[in-house]
Amino acid sequence: MSRPAAAGPQASAGAPVTSVQLHQVSRHYGTGEARVQALADVTVTFPAGTWTAVMGPSGSGKSTLLHCAAGLDRASSGRVVLAGQDITRATDATLTSLRRRTMGFIFQNFNLIGSLTAEQNVALPLKLAGARPSRADVRAALAAVGLADRARHRPRELSGGQQQRVAIARGMVTRPSVLFADEPTGALDTHSARMVLRLLRRMVDESGQTVVMVTHDPVAAANADAVVFLSDGRIVDRLIRPTAAGVAERLTRLEG
């Protein structure tokens, strides 16, 4: 499998190689004195079947970029295209249906539903989408993250790493075209973090999954195919086939 790099707006909308595309996207909050420019004229493409890490100092707008790309936050101006569909001004119903079929999410703090077992948590997106998930599918998703024997456990009976793996199984069970990950290793110890990153790598390599990941950890970013650096709401740098040392060096330069 090739590793296409994060590139400029060269791919046309709707082409299978393009999963997520932001075109001159700006986002600001508040008005007047309190106006904050979170994203300024950002143009970026996340090609299908690649893993891109979004990095930058605190407050650089990396979370806003992720939120706008996933249609969770609305761009003040510019255009967002997700899996060939323009979602810039999409209705809530359209976004809901995209969340059901096209997007998956992984969070720093796992966000599993405490009252449901691992199995039920994984089956939830399918149920919300109105499908009747087969137990075999759900078990297979759990087995893929190495938790086949934890199906009946509730989140509080699992370690942090295990909870994050359940969350990954939940994010993958609908076979979404894009998986958005917000600091997926932020709350994990190094061992668990490494396991989660290995899982993501396997999904990209074996299933052609697209992953957009916000992180501040150079080691995590080094697992991605490409790294996009943000500062003050603008893309200031890119790195293809990153190494942890290379990422750390650029970050230091940005923060300095």
């Binding site: 809901t96 969340r99 969070f107 039920q120 939830l124 997106p125 919300l128 989408a129 917000d182 709350a187």
Partner: protein, 639 residues
């Protein structure tokens, strides 16, 4: 979706416990009221009861039915209100979880469905518990109605299969209606909220809240303006209206009103560092403060307003009785003894009024239709001229002086009814006579006033001698009423009271039933309010675990944190009490004119003490529980 509902209810039962208890109590109350009502529908009259007693039993049954009919909707309203406020709060607490469901592909209708599903389950479980509890509740209710004299001793509530449908219907309706508003709120939760570590301060004053609050406030102001008249009945209706609408208005607007009054309290609180912290929290956590204050507002506004209104009506009735009675003394005796009163020295005028056992059949007209009705009670034998002189009642037609021989006067009790002119048929003992209507008396405030007045010479002496009689006595000028009263007592005629004492006793008698039911209602609403307040305090404390830990890490001792939280909840309660009293004052303002205002001070004091005890206690206890783990463990702990 129902499965998620079920597991949420199971897993977060603390959030729902209060609402469940509320639904259970509501269903139990409604079911027991219905069971008693069904049994009162067909009064059982023991064989051998006299016609007059039978009519009194029937009237008692009707009175019981009216009171239950008033109590039941109020209980349902309160239950719905509490379920509503509990769920509104619960949605706020679960914002992240709901946002997560949106993030995972849940649609708005699905979220609404989730909450309504929870409400349905809650209603169902509450109904089952309520149906079980409703059986003993019906017995208690019947005992109570027997106790206040509305139902006869042998009364026992039966069973009706209709409650098998009715009770779950009530429980589920109350729960679902209560949750409706909250479920629409949940649909406004944005998926992005799941990603925020501290939930964005949600707007507390929602459009619905504004709408409810402002329209109720407008209606309250309109009612206050309307109640400024002199008509007592209008004042009464307006007072009751204000108690209800005003409570709704202020509780809906409490997120605005609470910080406003909180600023006033601030000068007192700011004297110490803990007070300052508490005041800052009060201002900042508007939703939490409002959730605690709202039930207190409703409780005080409703109970003090309604009780004050009823007490004022009673006082007005007493004043009216005293106004129309022109006599210093009232003697209670039998008819034979009453005949001796005029011979007592110092008695200028004696007007005997004997309740006689007879039947009067009158013809009525109602919308082009005439019908007959027979009355057995409230038929009073009087001396027409003496009665006229002893009462300030100007007949709307005719004159009391004509009350002689085969004649009759239509009393205040039937003044509003459409009795046809001409004559009525009366049955005294075995004799049947036709009586000519010679006068009609105007309406009075008292409910149990006379239906008919008949001349004493019409009634056979034997019946008259045994009839229970009240004699209005005017004392001759220059004679002390006390001396005359002593002489009447010395003559062994009967019980002597001043007119004021007699009027008070009569009003108290009339009010006894209402007050009994009010007592039950008050207990019920007090319990509801306590549930709501404790609920709000406990749910809120859970979210403050970290906040408390931070406060401790900053240098506050555990005791100081507990004191801070207690000051805060006490302050919120004081604000709620103040706003509720404001509603009650508005409701009672109309009675100020005419000096018939009766403020239930004892009740107010009781409510103040009880609500302060409950909120301060619940606040202190939950804060103690929340601060048990070490502070550092909480400050550093992740979700």
């Amino acid at each position: 979706m129902l499965r998620i509902s079920a597991s949420t209810v199971r897993d977060r039962w603390q959030l729902f416990a209060g609402a469940l208890l509320t639904v259970t109590l509501g269903v139990a109350l409604v079911q027991s009221a219905v069971l008693v009502l069904v049994s009162t529908g067909e009064p059982e009259i023991p064989p051998g009861t006299s016609a007059r007693d039978a009519e009194q039993i029937r009237e008692g049954y009707a009175g019981a039915a009216t009171l239950l009919g008033m109590a039941t909707p109020l209980a349902m309203f309160l239950a719905m209100f509490i379920v509503g406020s509990t769920f509104a709060f619960a949605v706020e607490q679960r914002r992240r979880e709901l946002a997560l469901l949106r993030m995972l592909g849940g649609s708005r209708p699905q979220l609404i469905g989730l909450l309504l599903g929870e409400a349905f389950l809650l209603g169902l479980i509450g109904s089952v518990l309520g149906m079980v509890l409703g059986v003993p509740a019906a017995w208690v209710q019947a005992r109570l109605l027997i106790g206040i004299g509305l139902l006869p001793d042998g009364f026992s509530p039966g069973w009706s299969n209709s409650v098998l449908v009715l009770s779950p219907g009530v429980g589920i309706t109350v729960a679902v209606c209560g949750v409706l508003a909250a479920s629409y709120r949940s649909a406004r939760v944005r998926p992005l909220d799941a990603l925020r570590n501290t939930p964005r301060a949600a707007r507390v004053m929602t459009a619905g809240r504004w709408l409810t609050g402002l329209s109720s406030l407008a209606l309250t102001l309109l009612l206050i303006a309307a109640g400024n008249g002199t008509d007592l009945l209008l004042t009464l209706m307006v007072g009751m209206g204000i108690s209800i609408v005003g409570s709704v208005a202020l509780s809906a607007l409490s997120p605005l009103a609470v910080p406003l009054v909180g600023r006033l309290l601030g000068t007192v609180l700011r004297t110490g560092v803990l007070g300052e912290l508490a005041q800052a929290n009060l201002r900042d956590a508007v939703r939490r403060s409002a959730s605690t204050a709202a039930p207190v507002i409703v409780l005080v506004g409703l109970l003090v307003g309604l009780t004050g209104t009823l007490n004022s009506l009673a006082r007005a009735t007493g004043a009216d009785l005293e106004r129309i009675t022109v006599a210093e003394l009232v003697v209670t005796s039998d008819g034979a003894a009453a005949a001796r009163i005029p011979h007592i020295p110092g008695v200028a005028l004696a007007s005997p009024q004997s309740q006689v056992e007879m039947a009067v059949t009158a013809r009525y007209r109602e919308e082009q239709r005439t019908y007959r009705q027979t009355h057995h009670s409230g038929i009073i034998a009087v001396d027409g001229t003496a009665y006229r002189r002893a009462h300030r009642l100007t007949p709307t037609s005719g004159t009391l002086d004509d009350l002689r021989g085969r004649t009759i006067v239509i009393g205040p009790g039937l003044a509003g009814e459409g009795i046809l002119r001409g004559s009525v048929t009366a049955r005294i003992g075995d004799e049947k006579v036709k009586l000519r209507t010679v006068a009609r008396l105007p309406e009075v405030l008292e409910n149990r006033s006379a239906n008919f007045l008949v001349p004493r010479d019409l009634v056979p002496a034997a019946i008259l001698a045994e009839a229970p009689t009240e004699t209005m006595v005017q004392v001759a000028p220059g004679t002390s009423a006390r001396a005359v009263a002593d002489r009447i007592r010395a003559a062994g005629i009967g019980d002597v009271r001043t007119t004021a004492q007699w009027a008070d006793a009569r009003v108290e008698d009339e009010q006894r039933g209402t007050m009994g039911i009010m007592a039950v209602l008050m207990g019920m609403s007090g319990l509801y309010a306590a549930i709501a307040v404790i609920n709000a305090v406990v749910i809120a404390a859970a979210e403050r675990r970290t906040e408390f830990a931070v406060a401790r890490a900053t240098g506050l001792s555990r005791g100081q944190v507990v004191r801070m939280a207690t000051i805060e909840s006490t302050a919120v309660t004081v604000i709620g009490l103040f706003l509720g009293s404001l509603v009650a004052a508005a409701a009672l303002a109309g009675f100020q004119q005419g000096g018939i205002l009766a403020v239930p001070w004892t009740l107010l004091a009781l409510l103040i003490v009880a609500s302060l005890a409950v909120t301060a206690g619940a606040g202190a206890l939950t804060t103690l529980a929340m601060t048990k783990p070490s502070a550092t463990a909480l400050v550093t702990a992740r979700e």
